[in-house]
């Protein structure tokens, strides 16, 4: 059994959906042109992951192994459709911006992946925490990539925040450079690939530094035991 701490660490860092499993690339690369888009899709995906994980965990003892995949697919498709309809009803502006990528959450492999690999074998509490951590990990990658591309591509941050937070948020936009002509590459798909590549490289560098630092420590420990 994985400890709660490890579930959280896996989701946020060591088994991150975007940076390590590299799943759900289609929405990840397509909508992260701005911070708000990333946040919107991240929240929708996270809600889906938490809900499907909990449902799958609840029914894990009822589902016979030979029909489990179709049942998971049914659960995921229903949940995503409900989320899509609700967004269209209550967050219409954002729904229009994210468009096709909301229903496409169904095809995000990380969701059925977590259902099959984790939720179907663990208690509801653990499945919930796993969905939450994995979703949050994905959301953080989306938001980071969205911010980077928005700052480099348009010279702004939090533009179009009113789509999510209402009219009062129109003033939230931070403009870094006035009369910025924009850097097209960052907004276009190639920029998304490069940005994700840089984020993965950054994560790997941090991991390697950490590993290096902890090796001498481990050696010392062995020495002290000897």
């Amino acid at each position: 059994m994985t400890a709660y701490k490890d579930i959280v660490r896996d989701g946020l860092w060591s088994n991150n959906v975007g940076l390590v499993q590299v799943l759900g690339l289609c929405p990840l690369l397509a909508v992260t042109g701005t911070f708000i888009n990333g946040l919107g899709l991240g929240l929708a995906t996270m809600t889906t992951l938490v809900t499907t994980n909990v449902i799958v965990s609840l029914i894990r003892k009822l589902v016979r192994p030979e029909v489990r995949i179709p049942v998971f697919v049914l659960v995921i498709a229903s949940v995503v459709t409900v989320i899509e309809l609700s967004m269209s009803a209550y967050l219409y502006g954002l729904y229009k911006v994210l468009g096709i990528f909301i229903p496409l959450i169904v095809t995000n492999c990380s969701i059925i992946g977590r259902a099959e690999a984790f939720a179907s074998k663990n208690s509801v509490g653990r499945a919930f925490l796993d969905g939450f951590s994995m979703g949050l990990g994905f959301l953080l990658v989306l938001v980071t990539l969205g911010s980077l591309r928005e700052i480099i591509g348009q010279g702004t941050l939090f533009s179009q925040a009113h789509l999510m937070f209402g009219e009062a948020a129109r003033t939230w936009t931070i403009t870094f450079v006035h009369d910025y002509s924009g850097f097209l590459l960052a907004i276009l798909p190639p920029g998304a690939f490069m940005g994700l590549g840089l984020l993965i490289a950054l994560k790997n560098t941090i991991d390697r530094r950490k590993a290096k630092r902890s090796v001498p420590l481990a050696v010392k420990e062995i020495e002290s035991h000897a």
Partner: protein, 212 residues
């Protein structure tokens, strides 16, 4: 071999299909009205940017006529025309033509023409132009589209309804000529359509059910 486990699985799967569809149907039922209202409000908002709500008193959203002209409106489909009236008198017609030759496919426009044939304004409904270049046709991104306000087929003269690079009067964008060229052409064609058929647009009864 026994059929029992297969049967149980099948029944279970069936149950889940029913529960899943039920959940979706229930959500659809409880949100449909709100979603339709959102769409209505979004379109009304765009319409009111072009034709101020104080200028008309009819239910513009329902006063729809569907017209078909592949040559001037850019599509084989019938496109809606919203009609603004005040005290029963025609005020403006808002057409929804398509510029078929954008840089990245179709650009759907909202073109409001006052009764006398001058433009009340133009807005983009849907486009897939290059972000940062072609999408400057959006009112949120630049003022370019506002340049159509008050223009008509006499001002500028017809042969000058082009972007500057082609010898006309409308600005192109640095690095993007195709998009503005497509929009200017579509707006001009819409004005030509209005000149030819405009007198007819207000006479016919609304056809709110014809969605084809």
């Amino acid at each position: 071999m026994t059929y029992r486990p297969v049967l149980i699985s099948a029944v279970f799967l069936f149950l889940f299909a029913v529960i899943g569809s039920g959940l979706v149907a229930f959500t659809h039922n409880s949100t449909a009205e709100r979603i339709a209202e959102n769409q209505r409000r979004a379109l009304l908002k765009s319409l009111n940017e072009l034709v101020p709500a104080s200028d008309y008193d009819n239910d513009i959203y329902s006063d729809i006529l569907y017209v078909n002209n592949s040559e001037l409106l850019g599509t084989d489909e019938a496109v809606p025309v919203y009609r603004a009236r005040k005290g029963g008198w025609p005020v403006a017609a808002v057409l929804t033509p398509i510029a078929p030759d954008g840089y990245n496919g179709e650009i759907r426009l909202l073109v409001a023409i006052k009764l006398d044939g001058t433009l009340a304004g133009v807005r983009v409904l849907q486009q897939r132009e290059t972000p940062g270049l072609g999408d400057n046709i959006e009112a949120e991104r630049s003022d370019w589209i506002l340049g159509f306000n008050g223009k008509s087929l006499n001002d500028p003269r017809q042969e000058q309804w082009k972007v500057k690079r082609d010898g006309g009067v409308f600005d192109q964008f640095t690095g993007a000529t195709i998009t503005p060229r497509a929009v200017v052409k579509a707006v001009k064609n819409t004005l030509l359509y209005y000149k030819q058929y405009g007198h007819n647009l207000f006479e016919q009864h609304p056809q709110p059910t014809n969605k084809s």
